[in-house]
């Protein structure tokens, strides 16, 4: 078996594993009541803002 073939098999195997994991955890077990939904929505907004700040800083630093 060539090295390229071995690497391709390794990646293919892991990609399939990742798909399995996504299928296994497709449906969240915890029921999404209103407080839970609000908490997760706030978290997504928070992360978007923080990542945006990080990207802004990165661009500013690069342009100097």
């Amino acid at each position: 078996m060539s090295i390229a073939h071995a690497v391709r098999s390794l990646f293919a195997g892991n990609l399939e594993k990742i798909r399995d994991i996504n299928r296994k955890y497709a449906t969240p077990r915890i029921s999404m009541s209103l407080p839970v939904r609000l908490a997760l929505l706030a978290l997504r907004v928070y992360l978007l803002v923080l990542v945006g700040l990080l990207a802004y800083k990165f661009i500013i630093t690069l342009s100097r």
Binding site: K17, I21, N22, Y25, A26, T27, P28, R29, I30, V36, A39, L40, L43, Y46, L47, L50, V51, L53, L54, K57
Partner: protein
């Protein structure tokens, strides 16, 4: 005779309890004391140098803060028998699961680099070249995980935790004025007023007390140790003990630099050690040894946190109780993380300061997510049963976590834009 018999049986009961505690002690002690990692030592050293003894009261407040957050991971691990990463995947789906897992990997790897930075800087003081420090640490950590079971690893880690107490005798060597420490440090006060710099130091101390990897590590450690619901009280005691010891060590570091280096600007703990050596060579040497130990403890725990998390999700065997043949990917990911982080430090001109800065900010992205998920998981009555959070625990936990989220975020922003808080 009756009195002697009573004493004997009392002694046996106490000894049995102590023996049981030592069997169960570990996750809480190790995670809390490892929290005093290289970055933490630098923070405390800088705090003492900047403000003397005036912020000791703030460190003492962090004892219950650290306990309340970490205790929740003990309950979650003992009841669900799952690590934090798997709990997030299961509870909240694959999007949040992958986010948490990948962010944890990145934070852990970057933090591991900073631990190597601390260890190599400490050993450089004694004339040991960086490559030798990295090699010795990798070999030591390899020995720890390959040569035994979780029990063996834990007891060796506890030995290094004991070495972390070296700051206590070091502080006494510089003859700190006890009266002044009590006068300045016990009553809440803000020397110089509550300005941007003070805010930065408070946030840095909080940020170093609760780190994302600690949540993942302690929960996985509780699972790997095989703790059950009936062991939760001992897990709580273990966590309290760890929280107290870690803050006591932090206080003594502040006392050490507050006595010798008050008014001096400190960039890192290695620099502080060299400066302390000029006044008292033994205290300085102990500080350098403590810095190395802190970096090593941090590295020991952080590298495991990532491997455990990956193993949980990918379904690999992921226990220190398994041999390499039984859990190859677990050990491969462990050594890959460890060696790659160590090699970064050896790259000539590597942006180590930038990496240290980046760690702080990336950790902030994971900390709120991990804390929010922790509270939500602990409120899942279906899974947690009688060990679900009570209303009081939710209120206390919610206030602590909300405050940590706000202050950690401000810390992350201040790290990115220092002028904002100048």
């Amino acid at each position: 005779m009756n009195f002697i018999t009573k004493c004997y049986y009392l002694f046996r009961r106490v000894w049995k309890s102590v023996s049981l505690y030592f069997m169960l002690a570990g996750p809480g002690l190790v995670v809390m004391i490892a929290d005093n990692d290289a970055g933490g030592i630098t923070t405390y050293a800088a705090t003492g140098a900047k403000y003397g003894y005036h912020l000791i009261w703030f460190l003492l407040i962090l004892i219950p803060v650290a306990y309340y957050v970490q205790e929740m991971t003990v309950r979650l691990g003992a009841v669900t028998k799952r690590g934090h990463a798997e709990a997030i995947f299961d509870g909240f789906g694959s999007f949040w699961g992958w986010f948490s897992l990948l962010d944890l990997m990145l934070v852990d790897w970057l933090t591991l680099v900073t631990e190597f930075i601390g260890m190599t800087a400490a050993m450089r003081i004694f004339g040991v070249p960086e490559w030798l420090t990295v090699l010795a640490v990798c070999l030591l950590m390899g020995f720890m995980v390959l040569n035994g079971r979780y029990w063996t690893w834990e007891k060796i880690a506890l030995g290094f935790c004991l070495l972390n107490l070296i700051y206590i005798p070091a502080a006494f060597l510089v003859h700190p004025p006890i009266g002044q420490i009590l006068a300045d440090g016990v009553i809440p006060n803000f020397p110089g007023g509550f300005n941007g710099e003070m805010f930065f130091f408070l946030m840095a101390n909080i940020g170093t007390t609760i780190a994302p990897w600690m949540l993942f590590f302690q929960q996985s450690s509780v699972v790997d140790k095989g703790m059950r619901e009936k062991d939760i009280p001992w897990g709580r005691f273990d966590t309290w003990t760890g929280a107290i010891i870690t803050v006591v060590v932090a206080v003594f570091i502040v006392v050490l630099t507050g006595t010798i280096l008050h008014g001096v600007d400190i960039d890192d703990a290695a620099q502080a050690s060299v400066l302390v050596m000029q006044t008292n060579k033994y205290a300085g040497a102990m500080m350098a040894i403590g810095l190395f130990d802190a970096g090593l403890l941090g590295a020991i725990c952080i590298s495991l946190a990532s491997s455990w998390a990956f193993g949980e999700i990918f379904g690999w065997a992921h226990s220190l109780n398994t041999k390499i043949k039984e859990a190859p990917w677990f050990y491969v990911s462990y050594f890959f993380t460890l060696v790659s982080a160590g090699l970064v430090v050896l790259i000539p001109g590597a942006p180590l300061v930038l990496i240290t800065l980046f760690v702080q900010v990336v950790a902030v992205t994971l900390l709120p997510a991990a804390l929010v998920f922790l509270i939500l998981l602990l409120n899942d009555r279906e899974t947690m049963g009688e060990y679900c959070n009570t209303r009081t625990q939710n209120v206390i936990g919610g206030v602590i976590i909300g405050t940590i989220i706000v202050l950690s975020t401000c810390y992350g922003i201040s790290a990115l834009f220092p002028a904002l808080f100048a």
